[in-house]
């Protein structure tokens, strides 16, 4: 009996010792440096540390462009910086933050902002940017959490109406028929619908249907995501219009015509029009080069024009040893020259107003997308709102038979729960 207890004692002792040793290790990275979030008054500036930049790249073109931009900053500033491409950005960021050794500068989506801002991982450096006033205000709002402008918008995209010009001409339509109201949209979609082609195909999700809500003057949350407005009369009106188009048979969800997203449905000519962002140009030129298309601004609803915008920012970690250099790097990366170079390389729109005219001159066909910046609305940024959107998307799949009011009531309830 005693023998057994003594063994247990030894075993337990070893486990304890192991645990203590480990926590000992962890305290070296766990301990003291906390709470230095918020004001960028005292930026760390350990010049001996080189910078790491973590990006989630869309492909070789993007990786090369970012590498070139960072390398040129590196040689002019004398601070070393390396770019690494994440295979799973969220996971790699989370590991870095937990180990207190995060990348200094990284891509950050609007979904992830609230989570990292609330646990203090992010440096709120927005107000110390030299080119702060040059960013589009709606983008700044997307990266404002708790009243603080956290990070510089990297670039952005908006939704536009993409039209197959051949189908358009075949249906006897001319440039004058490009829809500017919901009624006109219904009319042309009807004319374009043939037995083997639907007039309009969109992805069955909030990120597309939300544009109709915006045109009716509503959105899931107010501009700075401090109040849930999902079941407002305006939002319901927007979703009701989507339901009407679906039930009239002139619009279908992309998956219902056997495509993964709107661009695929459009490229395979399963639909004559789609609502997608400027990223569709890449897919069209690489996968469907024979399809001719034009881009128009989305039609206006009862509350005027409306579209959705999607954006990422350059996050800087609170735990970065050289925040000052990171800030300088971000200023360089969001400068007019860098953004225009990025745009040529992989297609996004520059996030600063001063680059707009150059961009429009270089991309005459895509001007409607950039025009959308004036009236675009963002997705909600409250912590946990990504989950609510996923839940909403799952309901939107059956919008055709569902009740818009009921769907948005549920979203409203879930969003209100986030704000408590």
């Amino acid at each position: 009996m005693q023998r057994r207890t003594s063994r247990w004692m030894i075993g337990a002792g070893l486990t304890m010792a192991g645990a203590l040793a480990l926590t000992g290790c962890s305290s070296s990275f766990g301990g003291t440096t906390s709470g230095s979030t918020g004001s960028a008054a005292a930026l760390t500036s350990d010049a001996s540390k080189s910078l790491t930049v973590l990006i989630g790249s869309s492909g070789d073109a993007e990786t090369k462009a970012v590498n070139a931009a960072v390398a040129s900053w590196s040689s002019s500033s004398g601070t070393k910086a390396t770019v690494s491409v994440a295979s799973d950005l969220n996971q790699q960021l989370a590991q870095g933050f937990a180990a207190k050794k995060p990348a200094d500068v990284f891509y950050l989506s609007t979904d992830a902002l609230a989570g990292y801002a609330s646990n203090g991982s992010l440096l709120a450096y927005g107000d110390s940017l030299a080119n702060k006033d040059d960013f589009y205000p709606s983008l700044v709002k997307s990266f404002t959490y708790d009243g603080q402008f956290y990070c510089a918008p990297k670039d952005f995209s908006t939704l536009g109406l993409v039209i197959n010009t051949d189908a358009w001409a075949k249906a006897g339509l001319t440039d004058a028929d490009i829809p500017t109201t919901w009624d006109q949209l219904e009319t042309v979609a009807k004319k374009l619908t043939t037995p083997d082609q639907v007039g309009l195909a969109i992805g069955g999700e909030y990120a597309r249907a939300g544009a109709f809500m915006a045109q009716a003057g509503g959105n899931l949350m107010n501009e700075d995501s401090s109040k849930a407005t999902a079941n407002s009369a305006e939002a319901v009106a927007g979703l009701t219009e989507v339901k009407k188009l679906l039930n009239d048979g002139v619009m279908k969800y992309a998956k219902d015509v056997g495509a993964g997203w709107g661009g695929e449905a459009f490229g395979k000519q399963l639909a004559a029009m789609t609502i997608e962002g400027n990223w569709i140009t890449g897919a069209m030129s690489s996968d469907y080069p024979s399809v001719k298309y034009t881009v128009a601004e989305l039609p206006a609803g009862p509350a005027g024009k409306g579209t959705m915008q999607f954006t990422n920012c350059w996050g800087i970690a609170t735990d970065s040893p050289n925040q000052a250099a990171a800030l300088k790097l971000v200023e360089q990366l969001t400068s007019k020259d860098s953004q225009l170079a990025f745009s040529t390389a992989f297609g996004p729109m520059p996030s600063i107003k001063s680059a707009a005219s150059d961009w429009k001159a270089a991309n005459p066909v895509l001007v409607p997308f950039l025009n959308g910046a004036d009236y675009a609305v963002g997705t909600p940024t409250a912590k946990g709102s990504a989950d609510v959107v996923t839940e909403l998307n799952s309901k939107l799949e059956s919008l055709k038979t569902g009740d818009p009011q009921q769907i948005l009531d549920a979203a409203q309830k879930n969003l209100e729960a986030l704000l408590k």
């Binding site: 030894i10 192991g18 906390s34 799952s394």
Partner: protein
């Protein structure tokens, strides 16, 4: 009493044994402790804390929050509870279908492949086992192609006049779809009014979605081979004498399988069921590489939800709590299954026909022997 025993243990030729025993096992104990026990304990702590994912979970500003994370999931009334309920529902249906089907199929394959008269046994064994050695990511990608709306499966179905579903995009439950054939589209009020974990009883009974069904088929396809191997090994260990004895007693092939072979396979059956149960409650990589919970959250599983809450939403406490609830569920079902498959004495009702006829009492003795051998085998 204890004192002399103690001295005798310390001194003499065997004195250093305990120390060297510890020395030899130390590397493994330290490795397991560092990479298994300590991380599990850390995760347990995280599930009771408000750790936000920045710095060490043992840092100064991480607070103990008791059962807050657990109650948000089990009783919070919000989206977290609803998601957890949905994930449990999806995975429960997955388990209910995958475990019995894969066990039955692997046993069938093992019996077929184990037959002496089968030609080219090696070929069949290899081909049945092949899916198990292929990485699950590769198989998932293959599955996405096969089950796409214009994929090979739907092509095959169209040859026999069936208009196949849009597999990975169809969130409707198969039981609901079946009821719809009889015009039932809305559940009775008794089922739709009540709910458990934020999911109404009617939705609990929806059955796996069409998308989940494709994953169920995939799990059966990939794991049957592995378990077939276990059954083959067990079948080859059975002695032919018992089967011969049963033959002499006039048992036909069917009876020999159910009354003689299967009872002897009980330990293997337990292993297969347990491994199947654990594996299918933890399904993650198919979901991560395949659908990420879509369509309509019907392929969301607790394991994936745990990952999602932690890494994407920075709700680390909830993520860890989901993992521990899943752990409890798995342990519960394993114990339950052990209880169901326990050794039982032959019941009076079964015994009766043999007792009236002394000749068949011998047959009873013959069938009773394997039971006792399996018992000793099980106590390993």
């Amino acid at each position: 009493m204890s004192k002399p025993a103690r001295t005798s243990r310390r001194s003499g030729i065997r004195g250093g044994e305990a120390a060297s025993g510890w020395l030899f096992t130390a590397p493994m104990i330290i490795l397991l402790g560092m990479f298994l026990v300590v991380p599990v304990l850390m995760a347990l702590w995280v599930s009771f804390s408000d750790w936000g994912g920045r710095g060490s979970p043992f840092g100064g500003n991480v607070k103990f929050v008791g059962f807050d994370n657990y109650s948000t999931l089990l009783n919070g009334g919000g989206l977290a509870e609803q998601d957890f309920g949905t994930a449990l529902r999806n995975n429960a249906w997955y388990v209910v279908l995958v475990v019995p089907i894969q066990t039955a199929l692997s046993l069938l394959l093992a019996v077929l492949v184990n037959r002496q008269i089968l030609r080219g046994r090696g070929f069949f064994r290899t081909s049945f086992y092949f899916p198990s050695v292929t990485s699950s990511v590769a198989i998932t990608v293959l599955w996405l192609f096969l089950f796409s709306s214009t994929g090979a499966i739907n092509k095959l179905l169209s040859f026999i006049g069936i208009n196949g579903p849009n597999w990975f995009n169809d969130p409707s439950g198969i039981l609901h779809n079946f009821l719809q054939l009889f015009g039932v589209t809305q559940g009775p009020a008794a089922l739709t009014d009540g709910s458990f974990l934020g999911v109404s009883w009617w939705d609990w009974l929806a059955g796996p979605s069409v998308a989940m069904t494709a994953f169920i088929l995939m799990a059966v396809f990939t794991t049957s081979g592995t378990f077939m191997l276990l059954f083959i090994a067990a079948l080859q260990n059975l002695s032919g004498e018992v089967t011969e004895a049963a033959m002499m007693d006039g048992a036909n092939g069917w009876q020999r399988f159910w009354k003689v072979t299967l009872p002897q396979l009980r330990p293997t059956l337990f292993t297969v069921l347990t491994l199947g149960l654990i594996g299918s409650w933890q399904v993650f990589d198919q979901i991560y590489t395949g659908t990420k919970g879509a369509p309509g959250k019907t392929t969301l599983t607790p394991a994936y939800l745990s990952y999602q809450s932690a890494f994407n939403n920075q709700e680390w406490g909830q993520g860890a709590a989901i993992a521990f609830i899943l752990f409890v569920i798995i342990v519960f079902f394993t114990l339950f299954q052990r209880w169901v498959l326990r050794e039982r004495p032959v019941s009076k009702r079964r015994m009766r026909p043999y007792l009236t006829n002394p000749a068949s009492a011998v047959a009873l003795a013959a069938t009773a022997t394997p039971a006792s051998t399996t018992k000793s085998g099980e106590s390993r």
